[in-house]
């Protein structure tokens, strides 16, 4: 049976004393010698008001992530202008003078993957990305697109770019949603 590891986070507070910084220690729970020693130490201890520790322990099983801190705001906000220029260069290079054919479905899929990969390479942490591409034929048809989201406007954002040549148009939108 694999040993279980435990993460202990303790923040001692004592009356009349400055609080110590919290520390994180990782101990193996099945270390029986340490447990015996710990029991001996506590057996005769007299707890006073000055030395009451406040501890919280979390047991993490093997395979789970040891620590999952929440971060309500991003260190770096997703950069709209930079992403737009990246999208523009990717789309212009791929579509150029392309004509609309039935194979544009594969082109649309490939383009959405390229845009997503280019945005991923910018390495903005904790952002989930959705790349949406619509390629349509220019042929006297009216097309209207609108989108709306329920999200956190301070952290989440979107970037869009519309490409047009003589034969087709391409609407590319990249949504970046922050993971707290």
């Amino acid at each position: 049976m694999l040993p279980r590891s435990s993460v202990t986070c303790s923040d001692r507070r004592g009356f009349g004393r400055e609080s110590q910084k919290s520390r994180v220690t990782i101990k193996a729970e099945n270390d029986s010698k340490q447990q015996r020693n710990r029991t001996k130490k506590n057996a005769g201890a007299v707890k006073t008001e000055e030395s009451i520790p406040w501890t919280r322990s979390i047991t993490i099983h093997p395979g789970e992530s040891a620590w999952r801190p929440y971060q309500t705001a991003p260190h770096r906000r997703f950069p709209n202008e930079l992403v737009r220029s990246v999208m523009k260069s990717t789309v212009d290079a791929r579509l150029g003078c392309l004509e609309y054919t039935a194979s544009c479905s594969a082109v649309a899929t490939e383009l959405s993957d390229s845009i997503k990969d280019a945005a991923k390479r910018l390495s903005y942490e904790r952002y989930k990305l959705i790349s949406y591409v619509a390629i349509g034929q220019l042929r006297d048809s009216d097309v209207t697109c609108s989108s709306r989201g329920v999200w956190c406007p301070a952290a989440d954002t979107f970037t869009e770019y519309v490409f047009k040549n003589e034969h087709l148009f391409a609407l590319c939108i990249l949504f970046a949603v922050y993971q707290e």
């Binding site: 609309y100 039935a102 544009c104 479905s105 082109v107 649309a108 899929t109 383009l111 959405s112 993957d113 845009i115 997503k116 945005a119 991923k120 989930k128 990305l129 959705i130 790349s131 949406y132 591409v133 619509a134 390629i135 349509g136 034929q137 220019l138 042929r139 006297d140 048809s141 009216d142 097309v143 209207t144 697109c145 609108s146 989108s147 709306r148 989201g149 329920v150 999200w151 956190c152 989440d156 939108i173 949504f175 949603v177 993971q179 707290e180």
Partner: protein
């Protein structure tokens, strides 16, 4: 309610039908229609009360013989996040609604 028993795609089809069903394509109204479709879908999703962020995209295209292809690619957590795309049409227009749900 009845809505609880519908799947997501049925829910969005009902929302689209409620927003633009029975209408012929009109250039002057299509902006408002796309907004209505998106808002109806979002309100249905909000009623579910789940801890998700949602993004809804709606494209309405006039039926004139032109082609349209859409694709999406996502970088997210496969176990918690998902999407649904619904295609609706009548005699004069196509409507494609894509909904993305990302867990908080």
């Amino acid at each position: 309610s009845v809505l609880d028993k519908l799947t997501e795609s049925e829910l969005f089809t009902v929302a689209v039908e409620g927003a633009i069903g029975g209408n012929a394509y009109q250039h002057s109204r299509v902006n408002q229609w796309t907004n209505n479709v998106v808002e109806q879908c979002l309100s249905q999703l909000s009623k579910l009360g789940k801890p998700f962020k949602y993004i809804v995209t709606c494209i309405i295209m006039q039926k004139n013989g032109a082609g349209l292809q859409t694709a999406c690619s996502c970088f997210w957590d496969n176990t918690t996040d998902g999407s649904c795309t619904v295609r609706w049409e009548n005699k004069s227009m196509y409507c494609i609604v894509s909904v993305f749900g990302l867990a908080i």
